[in-house]
């Protein structure tokens, strides 16, 4: 994944910093609550939402079950339509392919449609190492790029910024990248959008190579689909002579008709729109219309490994709508950067540890970045049971067990740093399987209750740092029950 996230601290530490940042908390609370409420209204309008959700789940599950077949069919269709298909096992291979394709055109600039796959592989950084400048054209991605920042949301990568911060970034940085921001730029949304429009227009008209991802790929026709709401994508997909699309292998759907489901559920879940503003579809190349060369780079990068896990594979259904981020109380307070990946929020917490494995500190901490409240599962338009996968990945972290990494079956060892917890859990299980042991523990707690400290040392401080402990009662319920014969002798 993107090199920009290497060396991230574990989630709790990064989240603690974010929680203390009042501006960030305010920006995120305002933005997520606004989108959350709009989405709820847009979804409530659709009488057959539950059926659409189930249909989306089934289409994705069916495709994933026969992914080999549909990918080969897609390759045939794209090739027949005049495109060239490349297969990339990992980020490095995908970056090498794209860099080579760009260099073969003789160009040193590319314009980009917003794409999660290219963020995932760190394409912009890889291109720059080879002297190729990649310009982001999505408004929010532009803000992130100009601010030398990292995306913090799948759909709204600059959600952590407010208007004032955006104005400052535009005024200060645009000139170094191309057309500067107009003099006297204010933080009015229309002015900010106009500044970006003027800046980007130059890029669109000059660029001879466009790079995109895709929301869907249709196996039967070889058609790619990009769903966006600014029109910048349409410019990048039609104006350049060469178009290179980097797409995760799980984005394939069998037929054109399958789009019927997702083009209803995706816009309402993502931006609360009834119909998506700019939906671009293209099939190979057409003489005299649009790019004359089209390359499709199919990206694995941990997806086949994820597919091998019978519980975790449902994460591959994701259509990147971000509804789970917008509804997540943890994301709202921790912010997207704490997740150490281009995929933040609940979906990121189950995707990153599967695509990258659980070996790093940040990846091993992500499955715990949730209170398991279930709000994400409730809004997911393809019914990914995120809490189920989180718990499954927690098990992988603490117990280890069989998994597939880089195509090979491996037996994972438990992650480091869980030995004390594991011992405590075993001891608790031993005591809880023995009523007498539980009772002895309860009585000990009750008899010593006046000696209990108000604040705890060690791991207990995590609780008592912000919360008082409940007082321990004089006797546990079971002693009362026995003493009073179930309350019959209440006066005793």
């Amino acid at each position: 994944m993107s090199g920009t996230f290497v060396g991230m601290p574990a989630f709790p530490e990064a989240a603690r910093t974010a929680v203390g940042n009042a501006t960030l908390r305010g920006n995120l609370r305002h933005a997520t609550h606004t989108i959350r409420a709009k989405r709820a209204r847009a979804v409530a309008e659709v009488s057959d939402w539950a059926e659409l959700r189930e249909a989306g789940r089934r289409i994705k599950d069916h495709t994933l079950r026969h992914l080999d077949r549909y990918l080969e069919q897609l390759e045939e269709s794209v090739t027949a339509a005049g495109g060239t298909v490349h297969w990339a096992a990992d980020a490095d291979e995908a970056n090498r392919i794209v860099t080579r394709l760009v260099k073969e055109t003789g160009e040193s600039e590319v314009v980009k449609v917003k794409s999660m796959a290219t963020q995932e592989i760190g394409l912009n950084e890889a291109l720059l190492e080879e002297g190729v400048h990649a310009y982001e054209t999505d408004l929010a991605e532009l803000i992130v790029q100009l601010g030398r920042d990292r995306p913090s949301h799948i759909l709204v990568p600059a959600i952590h910024r407010n208007r004032g911060e955006i104005r400052d970034i535009f005024a200060k940085e645009m000139g170094a990248w191309g057309r500067p921001a107009p003099e006297g730029l204010t933080d009015a949304p229309a002015e900010l959008a106009e500044a970006a429009r003027l800046h980007l227009r130059e890029k669109f008209l000059r660029a001879r190579v466009g790079i995109s991802g895709a929301n869907f790929m249709v196996a039967e026709t070889g058609t790619l689909v990009v769903v966006e709401s600014e029109g910048n994508g349409r410019m990048c997909l039609t104006l350049p002579e060469t178009l290179i699309s980097v797409v995760g292998i799980e984005k394939v759907v069998p037929t054109w008709r399958d789009l019927e489901v997702f083009l209803q559920t995706l816009p309402r879940s993502a931006t609360a729109e009834r119909m998506n503003p700019y939906t671009s579809t293209w099939t190979g190349t057409t003489d005299g219309d649009g790019p004359s060369a089209f390359h499709l780079v199919l990206l694995d990068n941990g997806r086949t490994d994820t597919l091998a896990d019978r519980v975790g594979r449902q994460a591959l259904r994701c259509i990147r709508c971000s509804a789970c981020l917008n509804v997540c109380p943890v994301y709202e307070r921790a912010g997207g950067h704490a997740y150490g990946s281009v995929y933040p929020g609940p979906i990121g917490a189950i995707l990153s540890p599967q695509l990258r494995g659980t070996a790093s500190e940040i990846d091993a901490s992500l499955p715990y970045a949730s209170s398991l409240c279930g709000a994400c599962y409730e809004v997911c338009p393809v019914a990914i049971d995120i809490p189920e996968v989180l718990v499954h990945l927690r098990e992988r972290v603490v117990e280890g067990g069989p998994a597939v990494r880089e195509g090979n079956r491996v037996l994972l060892k438990p992650a480091r740093g869980h030995a004390a917890e594991r011992a405590a859990m075993r001891a608790a299980r031993w005591a809880l399987a023995r009523p007498a042991a539980l009772r002895a523990g309860q009585r000990l707690a009750s008899r010593t209750r006046r000696l209990h400290p108000r604040t705890l040392p060690g791991p207990g401080r995590a609780w008592t740092g912000t919360r008082d402990l409940p007082p321990v009662p004089a006797e546990p319920f079971r002693d009362w029950w026995q003493r009073t014969r179930g309350g019959e002798d209440e006066t005793k």
Partner: protein, 251 residues
């Protein structure tokens, strides 16, 4: 009907008043309540922290203790959800690991007859007027497992609205998690505490004197936050409100 009270290990140890309230309430409604002395813990904390294999002996023990009763009632939404939703999953996973049907068969009997308290009252006993008296202004927090796991819907509200003297006020952002989340409360203490403080502030804004919920683990987190923030709110389990009468009012 022979009904077992599954009080939960947390309530048994820390909140015996909730247990006494359930016994008082159900007895008043004519239910013969038993408290099987061998009960311990459903295994929820183990399961949710990733120790599924450690959970299995606890689930088997639960089934051994409660399997013979006609209904199992618990004043905890999350423990009820553990049995109803996750015990079947324990069985499925064991089967997928090539360990046969033994665990699934052992757990199957308790799954359909485990009820969260408000479900048992409204769906099984078919009562919403339980003869309670509680002259306080109350706001209700629907905990996540009750709301999204069990789908308790408006059952707790109907029960509370029927309580004499009780003024029920709506909690803003009620459906948002309080931030407890079991071990989440200590593993991600900063985020958990921020969620808890926001929930307490929302409850405070209603002007209620009591924040009510159907799960004492969430109330332990919120109550601990309330006393640290020096609010005038008190956390009270719904069972204690429903058990309170004019003759024997809860304070």
């Amino acid at each position: 009907m022979r009904v077992a009270l599954f009080l939960t290990c947390v309530n048994d140890t820390l909140y015996p008043d909730t247990g006494r309230a359930v016994v008082k309430l159900l007895t008043r409604l004519g239910v013969d309540v038993d408290f099987p002395m061998d009960q311990t813990c459903c295994g929820q904390a183990h399961y949710n922290t990733g120790y599924r294999h450690e959970t299995e002996p606890l689930a088997r023990h639960f089934s051994d203790v409660f399997g013979g009763y006609e209904a199992i009632v618990t004043p905890s939404g999350s423990c009820a959800a553990m049995v109803r939703e996750l015990y079947p999953r324990l069985g499925e996973r064991a089967r997928a690991e090539g360990r046969g049907d033994s665990l699934a068969r052992a757990l199957a009997p308790v799954v359909p007859k485990t009820y969260e308290l408000t479900e048992f009252l409204v769906d099984v006993l078919e009562v919403t007027h339980v003869g309670a008296y509680y002259p306080h202004k109350v706001t209700y927090h629907p905990t996540c497992h009750g709301l999204r796991g069990l789908g308790l819907g408006d059952r707790p509200h109907r029960l509370l609205q029927a309580v004499k003297g009780l003024e029920l006020v709506e909690l803003p952002g009620a459906e948002e998690c309080c931030g407890f989340g079991g071990t989440f409360a200590v593993k991600n203490a900063a985020v958990s505490a921020a969620m808890g403080a926001d929930k307490v502030r929302a409850a405070e804004s209603t002007g209620a004197s009591v924040l009510c919920a159907a799960d004492n683990s969430c109330l332990m987190h919120l109550g601990g936050t309330m006393s640290r923030l020096h609010t005038d709110l008190r956390p009270v389990h719904i069972a204690e409100i429903l058990a309170s009468t004019e003759e024997e009012p809860a304070v």
